[in-house]
């Protein structure tokens, strides 16, 4: 290798190193809070905010956060009112709003979602939010304000961005919202259930943000009769209710994924009637189909219940 080539390689390496260094430094550098040399931003109190923003401060005061911050602050942060979340407002106030707030929320905010969410997580990174970081919603850059509205009361519970949970979650999960409109559905639209009966949208230790340790454990919350253990178990039932059911809604009875008898026939190719394609008028097809006889398909505790007839 010639010296000229070695020199070129060295200089190329140095250039790459400088470039990488610059890129890394841009990543590592903390966010710039304000223009250098400007007066330090200080807290001015919610009364100052109210002077220019009377409507949002009034609606905010009717919310749980508003009441807590105003009437029963438990620490210094909460006692700062508007500035507890938006940061010190002196520069914003002094510039008649020309200077941006340190933290703004929502679509048009200059702060990335993670910085917006960090404000909420100062107080809320506990209990149900334990698994927020690294969870599916956090990693897709959802903001807390995608689902929650703090400045006014929109929903009866949880300060949701929409009137109820299914509308809130349905903003992105449009298929799930559509499934809830089907004729075979869980009673969400009747108000007897909510998405959060089964899911924790903030993250959980279980895939699909389930609140319990497995799919079945979620279902057992209301269907504890299916929990067993039974003398005669049905293996796919033991492993996951989702092998046969889609709880979000289907066009088949009992929220089944596939109509009976085809559902059962996907796996049962033993002999005799399970292997028969059947005709529409067959007693193996109409009414309850396979479960006309195999009524204990979720498990039986009867000594002679081997085939789930008893």
């Amino acid at each position: 290798m010639t010296r000229a080539l070695e020199g070129k390689q060295r200089s190329t390496g140095a250039a790459i190193a400088v470039l990488v260094g610059l890129v890394l430094s841009s990543w590592i550098a903390p966010p710039v809070a304000g223009a250098q040399g400007a007066a330090p931003n200080t807290y001015v109190g919610s009364e100052v905010c109210q002077a220019c923003h009377p409507v949002p401060t009034a609606t905010f005061s009717e919310t749980l956060h508003g009441k807590l911050f105003e009437h029963e602050p438990r620490n210094t942060l909460e006692s700062r009112g508007c500035e507890a979340c938006h940061g010190p407002g002196s520069a914003h106030a002094a510039s008649n709003g020309e200077e941006d707030l340190e933290v703004a929320f929502g679509e048009g905010s200059p702060q990335p979602p993670s910085e917006q969410n960090a404000v909420c997580l100062q107080c809320h990174e506990k209990t149900a939010r334990l698994y927020w970081e690294g969870g599916p919603h956090e990693s897709r850059d959802l903001r807390c304000t995608n689902c929650h509205t703090l400045m006014r009361k929109v929903s009866e519970e949880r300060q949701l961005a929409q009137v109820n949970e299914i509308e809130t979650c349905g903003q992105c999960h449009t298929q799930r919202r559509a499934q809830s409109r089907r004729s075979n559905h869980m009673p969400l639209r009747e108000g007897q259930m909510k998405c959060t009966n089964c899911h924790n949208p903030h993250g959980s230790a279980t895939p699909k943000l389930l609140k319990e340790n497995s799919v079945n454990e979620v279902c057992y919350t209301c269907h504890a009769e299916k929990r067993g253990p039974f003398l005669w178990e049905h293996a796919p039932v033991v492993e996951s209710c989702l092998n046969c059911h889609d709880p979000h809604g289907t066009n088949h009875e009992k929220l089944l994924k596939v109509a009976k008898p085809r559902l059962c026939q996907q796996c049962h190719v033993e002999v005799f009637h399970p292997t028969q394609p059947q005709t529409p008028e067959s007693r193996f097809v109409f009414n309850r189909s396979c479960t006309n006889c195999h009524s204990q398909i979720h498990g039986s505790n009867h000594p002679s219940g081997l085939r789930w007839h008893r």
Binding site: E125, R140, Q175, S183, A224
Partner: protein, 720 residues
Amino acid sequence: MSNSSRSLKNPGRFVWVLGALLGLFVLSPGSALGQTDVSGTVELGVRGFLAGVPDSARGKFEEYRDIPSGLFLEDLQLRLLTDDQRYSLELRAQDAFQNDQIFLLRGSRLGSYQLELNFEEAWHTFSNTGLSPFAETGRGIFELDDALQATLQDTDAADRPDILEGFLDNNAVPIELLTPRQTGRISFKLTPTPEWDIGARWTNMQKEDGRPMGLTYGFGPTTEITEPIDQTINDVRLSGGFVREAWQLQLNYTLSSFTNNVDALIADNPVRITDDATAGPVRGRLDLTPDNIAHNVDLAGAVRLPLRSRLVGTASYGIRRQDEAFLPHTINSAITSPLLSLPANSLDGDVRTTLVNLRLTSQPWRKVSLAARYRSYDFDNQTPVLTFPARVRTDQRLIEGPFENQQYSYRKQNAGADVQWRPRPVSVKLAYDWERWNRGDTEREVGRTDEHTAKVSLDMTPLDWLLLRTSYAHSWRDGTDYAQVVDLQLPALRKYDMADRERDRVEVLAQITPLKGPTFTATYSLRNDDYDESLYGVQDYESWTAGVDVSWSPSEAVAVFAGYMREEFDRRHRSRYRRSGVDTVANDWVSRDQDDVDTYGFGLDAALIPGSLNLYVRYDFSLANGIMLASNPFTITNDSAIATDFPEITQKLHELEASLRYPILDRWSAELRYELDRFDQEDFRIDDIQPFMGRTDIFLGARTPDYNASMLSLIVGYHF
């Protein structure tokens, strides 16, 4: 009979609940504080049916709800708030005195504690067309007229159906097929300091009445009766959590107990008046779901680490027990054998579950996030394996064994890692995930499966008004050798939950929000499963959905929403007709099951006269078509192998609500509401179901007839 009138059979319960809640409300410390603000809402309405729903169709119409005609209390809210805003007490009642009533009483001190009492009632109505000739002479004991049984036993088999049909025509009487569920809940949350969270919750759920259930007496008659339901679930949850800036801990305990107050269902066999060891029993006995109990304790925590890293983990341990006494093998007195002695009095069922979950996240550079995760869920079924020398099939016939119960255990492990780069306005994530199921070689066909998934997500906001979220994932699942565990099973079958599989998934969401204009949301998803190694069983499954939503608020006075979603599901599986001596590829058949669903939605919320007259409209329409096609790829050798298409199953559900709301005077409001609910279904399996369907079977005739209801309501509200 309408469902709403049924609620009157036990009015005392509702009065008790409301009285208790009101009593607590009045006697609560909050109301005794003197200086309080009182506010609330009472909305009382009257409803009339312009087009009524026949009683036969109310089962589906009121499947999970109660829509009475006449007076109804839609909403009741009372709030007490002390002048210093610290203490509050709130009572809410929704649809009070109806079958779907919900009550909530909540007392709290701001930022300190909260006590909640809930009472919810939900009726699940299965059908209003049920007819049954059985008389329930004791809870869970269903008897037929002895004369019928005697007659049918003494009649030639060919003549029995006519006799039974005549009997059912005259003796099948209406029965209720519904399961009311009542749930009471008390929960208490305490936050002594912002660092502490302590909670306790007790939930009591009662389920009553019954739902359709089948009972067979061999390949002879099959009957359908009402499963008697008298079940109680009690859940207790205790939780505690402590958080510091750098770490936090949570400890939770859950107890769940299930009690069934009816142990067995006994129903007469229509064709037997005497027990016989081959012809069948006088009665059949079915074991109803046994009592069980479950405990779970879990410890979770998180700790902050250098490089903006965080480790979060959960360790959880659960125990499930079930030890209800076994019933005898049969109620058929003609079948006696020393082989029918039970190896144990009860199962001593015992399952242990262990969960370990760890997640490490890190943001070593501002725009780069890393995550790694591991999860193990171990389902260890320690229930003893019992050996039964014989069994009695459907109380009809002794079958010698031995038979052993199989207890399935499994362990499911997941691990994965991802790296995410967020150079705004783009976010790219590359992820790899692995899932392993260990099932045990002897219980299931595949001892171990490994599924690998590679996923890339690309989210971007290239313009202020455009958000794109896209992802693609490819998975491939391989298992250890597929070994037959049931002697009669077709060896070449691959069950879809364990079979080798390739899966592709695509998801796209685009949200366009022009400045202060309407928001358009378009979604598309595709899932394609290939089971290329499966000669029999599910061959492939493909589904896709596409939808578009538009929402727009041109002014503060108007909000409009419209949406459409198309979903298609297409699954193909292959099977073979088989019986003793007949097992040839010529009798193969292929089924293709397709479901198409279209969902339309529209909403309008408009202030026709700002601050005064408001119009609200909501319309949803779901149209679902399901079809099961079947064909034989070869020339069959046995008529039982003939595969034919089944008739299409369709469901159409329209729901329209339109209301005008107008404030009268200062505190009063009036709302005129029109509702249209229409349901049309064609399902060859149940459309014509009657108690008599030929042979000597007895069904309930539980159908869900179409309905076309339109209602007009006037609701007067008082707000204070």
